[in-house]
Amino acid sequence: MAKQQVKSGDNTTRWIVIAMVLLVVVTGVVFSLMSQSNKENASLAALDGTKLQSAIVSTIDTANGSAITLNAGLPKTIDIWEDPQCPVCKNFEDANGGYIDSLIRDKKATVRFHVLSFLGDESVRAANASFCAADEGQYLDFHHALYAVQSSLENSGFWTNDKLVSIGKKIGINSTKFANCVTKGSKIDLVKTNYDSMPKFGVKGTPTVFINGKLWERKSPDFNLAEFKAAVEAA
């Protein structure tokens, strides 16, 4: 095919246009990066004034994928499989987190949190820190804090070990044992065991919830408390 001829003598214009396009793209990237990190750091402010709840001893249920288990041994059981970075898990938490808290604190049900880590390094770190918080008896507090500050960008560099320690500090987990556990990655083996147990329980994504061992399937398009509550009470 014969190419059309380019008009000659428009080299300056060409470079100006190329420079303008690059300017638009670079400005867009810088703007996106800045607004993202601003949003992440601002989210930490949401934790200001959080009061640490009374400690609850949790156990690790090795027969059930090494989940963090609260109130082991009650007749009613709820298994929650979630990844700290998963946005839909945050939706589940926002709708039902408070209710699940009350089930645990009023000893109405055994709740097993399977903290997964398939969304990348930051999930691994957050899961490790979750097990560290469980050792302090403060798993629930830490769990709520993580979802309160969850970044909309996965693996953005936000959840470093240092940041996870400071999230703990902000809500009142101040012990050096916790800080060491987080920075050293002391619970990595448990994180891995949790992740590896997914196929055994037929868990393919998050959040996945079992009530008394039976898969809970939501009917409404979004999570809503009334629906979940009814399912738990009927079980």
Partner: protein
């Protein structure tokens, strides 16, 4: 064929510019509004290190909009067509590679993106095929614009009318 092209080239070029430019404008415009989704979508392909993927995801929507505007207005159509064609080839490669590696993704072409539930596997594979065909068509449009960048309703005109 040649005669047809001589007679209607300026119109075919206009349609090509509006087609490629229009698709890029819509795709880029949707993603510009939600940059984090775009960054997550690129990272989900697992082809680039996560932070590089995020940068690419942030840049892509703006790049798409810029190329689209050049094509639609009719400025530097040839370089814009090259850029548009190249990113279509990148998309084809990325979707093809996700398919070959057995990843189940929402391509994130028009916003959204990320992994998809394994129960929808067969549906996802059909979507991959349609997306690759669509991008192939757009790449061919870009190729035509490379040869015939000047046409109707264009800011820039050809130096020599053929």
């Amino acid at each position: 064929m040649k005669e047809f092209n001589t007679r209607f080239q300026s119109y075919v070029t206009l349609i090509g510019r509006l087609l490629l430019g229009g698709v890029l404008l819509v795709a880029g415009g949707i993603k510009v509004a939600k940059p984090t989704d775009s960054a997550n979508a690129v990272a989900a392909y697992k082809l680039l290190p996560t932070n590089v993927a995020h940068l690419f995801g942030y840049a892509l929507p703006w790049l798409e909009v810029a190329i689209a505007l050049l094509l639609i207005i009719g400025i530097m159509v040839r370089p814009a067509a090259i850029a548009g064609g190249v990113i279509m080839l990148i998309f084809i490669g990325a979707i093809g590679s996700a398919w070959a590696r057995g990843l189940l993704l929402d391509c994130g072409c028009f916003g959204g993106g990320g992994e998809i539930d394994p129960s929808l596997a067969s549906q996802v594979h059909r979507t991959y095929f349609i997306e690759i065909m669509r991008d192939l068509g757009l790449a061919l449009t870009a190729l035509y614009l490379y040869f015939f960048p000047y046409g109707k309703l264009s800011f820039e005109k050809a130096a020599v009318e053929e």
